[in-house]
């Protein structure tokens, strides 16, 4: 996993609420090997219908999505994060997320940011007024600034992130390594647990 560095990149506003993981990556592609890459399949069916915002030239090279409520709801498929990440995206900002998608993101060096609904609406509106404008996502300082380079008065927001997740993202390490270092605590727990409920 790569270290998560500050992102300064084009941001795409996605207006639909409840974007589910079946839309992000349709089920029929899930047997592909991770190494084949999923980027070209991101939003496959929506894109094939034509006119999808991510395909507009202004948004080429986008690394940030600003979405509406409940982004990534539905299936637990981590492929949804792989597809976003393989397509070059690094951050999704939304008022809320599907819980499993949210968890999956961090495991792939991908940052989901929760901002208040009102601020997400304002940010999407500002990006729609300035197509192709960039935003800055600074994980170290937990801020989103945007759109930059345009005089459009959106400004800056701070966001919350769990310190453990932040640390793993900034260091680019996964949590298995860390957990294995807690082996003694796990073993001690298990013997106690089994003594109490031996049938499990």
């Amino acid at each position: 996993m790569n270290k998560f560095e500050t992102v300064e990149a084009v941001a795409v506003p996605l207006e639909m609420p409840n974007i589910d993981t079946d839309q992000i990556i349709p089920a029929r592609f899930l047997w592909r090997a991770r190494s084949e890459g999923y980027g070209q399949l991101l939003f496959n069916d929506v894109r094939e219908a034509g006119g999808f915002i991510l395909d507009r030239p202004e948004y080429k090279g986008a690394e940030v999505i600003v979405a509406d409520k409940n982004f990534g709801c539905g299936s637990s498929r981590e492929h949804a994060v792989w597809a976003l990440s393989d397509a070059g995206l690094k951050v999704v900002i939304a008022p809320s997320f599907g819980d499993i998608f949210f968890n999956n993101s961090f495991k792939n060096g991908f940052l989901p940011i929760v901002l208040p609904e009102q601020r997400c609406n304002e940010l999407r509106a500002a990006l729609a007024r300035n197509p192709g404008a960039k935003v800055v996502v600074d994980l170290e300082n937990q801020t989103v600034t945007g759109p930059i380079g345009v005089n459009d008065g959106y400004g800056q927001d701070s966001f919350d992130i769990d310190p453990f997740r932040k640390e793993l993202l900034l260091q680019g390490v996964d949590d298995i390594t860390f957990t294995l270092s807690q082996g003694e605590a796990i073993t001690a727990f298990e013997s106690r647990y089994l003594a109490e409920t031996p049938w499990i």
Binding site: D68, K107, F164, L180
Partner: protein, 469 residues
């Protein structure tokens, strides 16, 4: 004062970091043929499976429902998803119910059926519908592929913060023809598809107390469609009676000990929930979805809403997009929605009671549209056949198939055609879920059978009253 959820969470907490991140012990880990990426990640790190005795699996997503010969899976890549599981089993030695074993089935059907799922356990599976197992009073989370590899390697799971708690109380008595599926769809229509986000739901009240174990499994299954992390029902005599004597349930001297532990699990009387909802079961009716989110649902006696009257601009947009995709008009009666195909199956509704419910409606009637019935496990299929349900289905022209996930998600090639309206007992009506351009209407097994024999969404209570199809 603790909730059921608090009690299980606390009991499985190994350590809490100063920042609140909690390492939880996983009592039982369920895997399926889509869990391959987790094993690959394990191999890439050169790590062994930490607890084969706590790992149980079955192939379900990619298996053919025409035949359980693995070679019946036509595409090599899909076939490999199933054969890779067999190889992983050989290498790591977990318990597997493979193709050809009558215990094979949808992972969320076989967990309870085998007694692997038990009250007070923390369970995970790389599948969002893991919430199903909460029906027995377990805390069961769906997890992603990276988390699967973490559990395989460590038998633990990190949660950066504890989910909030929500209690949904449904009192009253359900009217005839109203099933557990209608209850959960009505709940989602009320609280919204994101209504449970970040929460663990406990279903409480007279309706769930009176509900069978199988009905509770249907309700908890769709907790994720309400956005929740998990759903649960406190264990009671119904739970214990269901579990006793199942293959992986405690037996002998362990049984009374287990009962003792289980009886302490229900939420303490004064326990506080972060959010409370109340619904009246007596007012519920058979439900159907008309749109592309499970919250787009209405009683079968109702109408498709007019986007112009939506509460917010955002909802209006969502309704308009949904109706365009579904090719339906505002104001249309729900029971006039035409149906081209019917699917009875999935981890939501493929247990024996579901099949009985569908067969009762199908009996003596004839399908007007292609209809597929897929039992949730080999054991459910055998039970149905011993009761003669398969004969009823076949006489009605329904297709009686081998167990698997099938048309719920179509990964095995059982797909709904573009533009077709499918009455489905599954759990998701998302755009493209059952196939590209497929239009899904979520209903109960009885309502699905009613749609099959009439060719449109039909109030099953009319057929129950003896009206001809």
């Amino acid at each position: 004062m603790k909730t059921l959820f608090d009690k299980i969470w606390d009991r499985h907490t190994i350590l809490v970091r100063p920042d609140g991140a909690t390492l939880l012990h996983v009592g039982r880990h369920l895997i399926h043929d889509g869990s391959r990426a987790g094993f690959r990640a394990l191999a890439a790190k050169g790590l062994p499976l930490r607890s084969p005795e706590r790992t149980f699996g079955t192939p379900d997503h990619y298996v053919s429902t025409a035949s359980h010969d693995v070679n019946a899976i036509p595409e090599p890549q899909r076939r490999e998803m199933v054969t890779a599981m067999t190889e992983n089993q050989k290498q790591h030695g977990f318990t597997m119910f493979g193709l050809g074993d009558k215990r094979q089935g949808i992972v969320h059907v076989i967990g309870p059926e085998q007694g692997i799922t038990q009250p007070g356990l923390l369970m995970v599976c790389g599948d969002s519908h893991t919430a199903t197992h909460g029906a027995l009073g377990a805390l069961a989370f769906g997890i992603g592929a990276s988390e699967v590899s973490h559990v395989l390697a460590t038998q633990t799971l990190w949660q950066s913060r504890k989910p909030k708690s929500m209690r949904i109380t449904v009192d009253g008595t359900l009217p005839p023809g109203v099933t557990p599926k209608d209850v959960i769809i009505a709940i989602i229509a009320r609280i919204g598809a994101a209504g449970g986000t970040g929460h663990v739901i406990e279903y409480a009240g007279e309706v769930f107390r009176a509900m069978s174990m199988e009905g509770r499994l249907t309700v908890c299954n769709m907790s994720i469609e309400a956005g929740a992390r998990a759903g649960m029902v406190a264990p009671d005599e119904t739970t214990y009676a269901y579990l006793q004597g199942r293959p992986y349930t405690p037996s002998g001297a362990d049984w009374p000990k287990a009962l003792d532990y289980w009886r302490k699990l229900p939420s303490d009387p004064g326990a506080i929930f972060d959010v409370e909802h109340r619904l009246n079961g007596a007012e519920m009716a058979p439900m159907a979805t008309w749109g592309t989110s499970p919250e787009h649902a209405a009683p079968v006696t109702g109408h498709i809403p007019d986007p112009a009257r939506a509460a917010t601009a955002e909802q209006r947009g969502a309704y308009e997009r949904a109706l365009a995709y579904m090719d339906l008009k505002p104001g249309m009666r729900i029971d006039e929605i035409p149906i081209d195909r019917v699917f009875i199956g999935s981890c939501t509704n493929s247990r024996i009671e579901d099949l009985r419910e569908a067969a009762a409606v199908a009996k003596g009637r004839t399908a007007k549209v292609p209809t597929m019935v897929v039992a949730g496990s080999g054991l459910v299929k055998l039970q149905a056949e011993s009761e003669g349900l398969h004969t009823i289905f076949k006489q009605a022209g329904f297709d009686w198939r081998e167990p698997g996930c099938s048309m719920c998600v179509g990964m095995n090639g059982d797909l709904v055609g573009a533009g077709e309206h499918c009455a489905s007992t599954s759990n998701r009506n998302f755009v493209g879920r059952q196939g590209r351009g497929a239009r899904t209407h979520l209903v109960s097994p009885a309502m699905a059978a009613a749609a099959a024999v009439t060719g449109h969404i039909t109030d099953v209570r009319r057929l129950m009253a003896g009206e001809a199809a």
